[in-house]
Amino acid sequence: MTEYIIALLLGVGFGFTLNKAGLTTYRNIANQFRFTDMTVLKYMMTAIAVAMIGLYTFRGLGWITFPTVPATYIVGNLIGGLIFGVGMAGAGY
């Protein structure tokens, strides 16, 4: 039960920042692919960098162990990404 409450609260945090970053509008997503608006990459890369520093610090301190990481299968990841991009740039979600 606690796990689900945590999930709900973290989801709220996620949705809140997504909306405030402006990533719930078509224009900001589409313009990333035209390089007239870099919001998507700024948002994504900042999040990755911040979480990465925290995660590796906490693991170094022995507070956490990493969860099962997404599997790497080069062809699948690449082809999946290529298909994904078409929908993302087209629909703007």
Binding site: K20, V86, M88
Partner: protein, 184 residues
């Protein structure tokens, strides 16, 4: 206190500020629940849940799990942690829009979209629907979406995340070029 209030009621934050906050959310997910943020898997879980009810034989496969088999399915067809997270994302976005007083039912009001595709709302719905299918299909193959694979994988330095980012940037740029042509 007033400064916090006025910050929250801003319509858009700097993407760096929003990104830092998302990074903290991603970190908390690992710290508190030993889980990763992800959205696309939740849709697949829900699809599996519905599919197993209405067409059990069709959904009785390796992806959503074979009845009686001991092997774990790739996607669990049940209300998973991610599904709850997805519900939270919905309410979080709604709250954010309410806080900046931009909450509104929109059918098609993006000026840029109208310039490219025309003003008809049905076009927005059709392209949105088809685009969403493509997005979900792609993330199913890759093993995650922008949140579950690119961000969550990236913060764990998983090679898959960076392959995926490269993939969607390349095809996204090409798609945008085709859609925008001379206006690119």
């Amino acid at each position: 206190m007033n400064r916090i209030k006025s910050f929250i009621s801003q319509e858009t934050w700097s993407p760096y500020v929003a990104g830092i906050l998302l990074g903290i959310v991603g970190l908390l997910a690992v710290l508190l629940a030993n889980s990763l943020l992800g959205a696309s898997g939740a849709f697949e879980s829900l699809a599996g849940l519905i599919g197993k009810k209405i067409a059990p034989s069709l959904f009785n496969n390796v992806y959503w799990g074979v009845d009686g088999a001991r092997a774990m399915p790739i996607i669990r067809p049940e209300i998973t942690w991610s599904v709850i997270l997805l519900v939270g994302i919905f309410f979080g976005g709604t709250l954010a829009a309410l806080s900046s007083r931009t909450f509104k039912f929109r059918f098609n009001d993006d000026a840029q979209w109208k310039r490219i595709f025309g003003p008809q709302p049905w076009k927005r719905w059709v392209i949105g629907f088809v685009g969403a299918i493509i997005v979900e299909f792609g993330s199913g193959i890759a093993g995650g979406c922008t949140s579950g694979l690119a961000i969550s994988g990236g913060m764990l330095l998983v090679p898959a995340a960076f392959l995926f980012i490269a993939g969607f940037m390349v095809s996204g740029i090409l798609t945008a070029m085709i859609i925008y042509r001379k206006r690119y």
